[in-house]
């Protein structure tokens, strides 16, 4: 997964505000869509609560791989809940994480944009692959890897655009260092892709109504 693990103060105040404003606009659109276009039902509320708890639980665990890494389950959130509810889930998880001291408050805006990218791309890829009839495990696995790849790209771009306060470093070594982080993160993305693949396949087998595509098919 991609998450900006920089302390508060690493970004200047104008960039912290900029990323927060962008994140708030996206979240505002999500809430508007939920209020006006798609009314949220009881099943979705329960699913969102479960995904929030699971994502929060997993995200705080430092996994002893490649020196220490984290997972967020953002692609799983996107595939099961969709990008709109998924964006609200990642907002709650980021706030709760900052509340227990994992990540800075100022970084929430930027990290939200990274996580929303992961949620949205994973959902989009999973949906797009449904059209060519791949098996559920592969669709979810590919969606996860591509979603997390785009999350890493978003993370890289946000840091490059913001720059690091108080550090006199050229863009080239920064880009090189961040690319290495993104590449190591992709190793974690592989593990996450297997977990997402198995969970989505299992849900499709025992509770196909939970998956959005199945619900739509059933409604037709």
């Amino acid at each position: 997964m991609a998450h900006i693990h920089l302390p508060d103060g690493a970004f200047s105040i104008q960039w912290i505000i900029t990323w927060w404003i962008l994140a708030v606009i996206i979240l505002g659109l999500c809430l508007y869509w939920l209020k006006k276009v798609k009314k949220i039902d009881n099943k979705t509320i329960t699913l969102a609560a479960m995904l929030t708890a699971a994502s929060f639980a997993i995200f705080q665990v430092n996994i002893p791989l490649f020196g220490g890494v984290h997972m967020t389950l953002t692609p799983l959130t996107g595939i099961l809940a969709g990008p709109v509810i998924g964006s609200i889930i990642v907002l709650i998880v980021n706030i709760l994480s900052a509340a227990i001291g994992h990540g800075g408050w100022g970084m929430i805006g930027a990290n939200l944009l990274v996580n929303i990218t992961e949620v949205t791309v994973a959902y989009g890829i999973y949906k797009a692959l449904s059209k060519i009839n791949l098996d559920t495990f592969s669709k979810a696995g590919i969606g996860t890897i591509i979603g997390l790849l785009f999350g890493n790209i978003a993370m890289l771009l946000i840091i490059l655009i913001s720059g690091i306060q108080g550090v006199n470093q050229d863009i080239q070594p920064l880009l090189y260092g961040l690319s290495l982080i993104a590449a190591v993160n992709m190793g974690v993305a592989i593990i996450e892709s297997f977990i997402t693949g198995y969970v989505v396949s299992y849900i499709k087998r025992v509770r196909p109504d939970i998956l959005a595509e199945e619900s739509h098919a059933g409604a037709k």
Binding site: A10, Q60, N62, H70, I100, G101, G141, V167, I181, G187
Partner: protein, 89 residues
């Protein structure tokens, strides 16, 4: 047909996994064994934060305040259980 699609999916997924696994191992060999915060600090040119001390359970450790984590997690699971029971989903 279904079996053919499963095979196609496995091939595409397997290829992507192998590409990113090779990329990850290559990057890990360059950077060495470092924690995520240390990796970030090094890349950004910030003074390095040395992680360590608590070895956790077989290397798995918790970020942030452990007690707050357990309280929030218990509340989250409790809320999920109540919603699950109430709405009978």
């Amino acid at each position: 047909m279904l079996e053919q699609n499963n095979k196609k999916g496995t091939i595409i997924f397997g290829t992507i996994v192998l590409i990113f696994l090779a990329l990850c191992v290559f990057a890990y060999m360059i950077t060495g064994d470092k924690g995520i915060e240390e990796r970030f600090s090094n890349a950004a040119g910030l003074p390095g934060e040395l992680e360590g001390g608590d070895n956790g359970i077989i290397g798995f450790t918790l970020e942030g305040n452990n007690l707050s984590y357990l309280i929030i997690l218990a509340m989250g699971l409790g809320a999920t259980a109540i919603l699950y029971k109430k709405y009978r989903v």
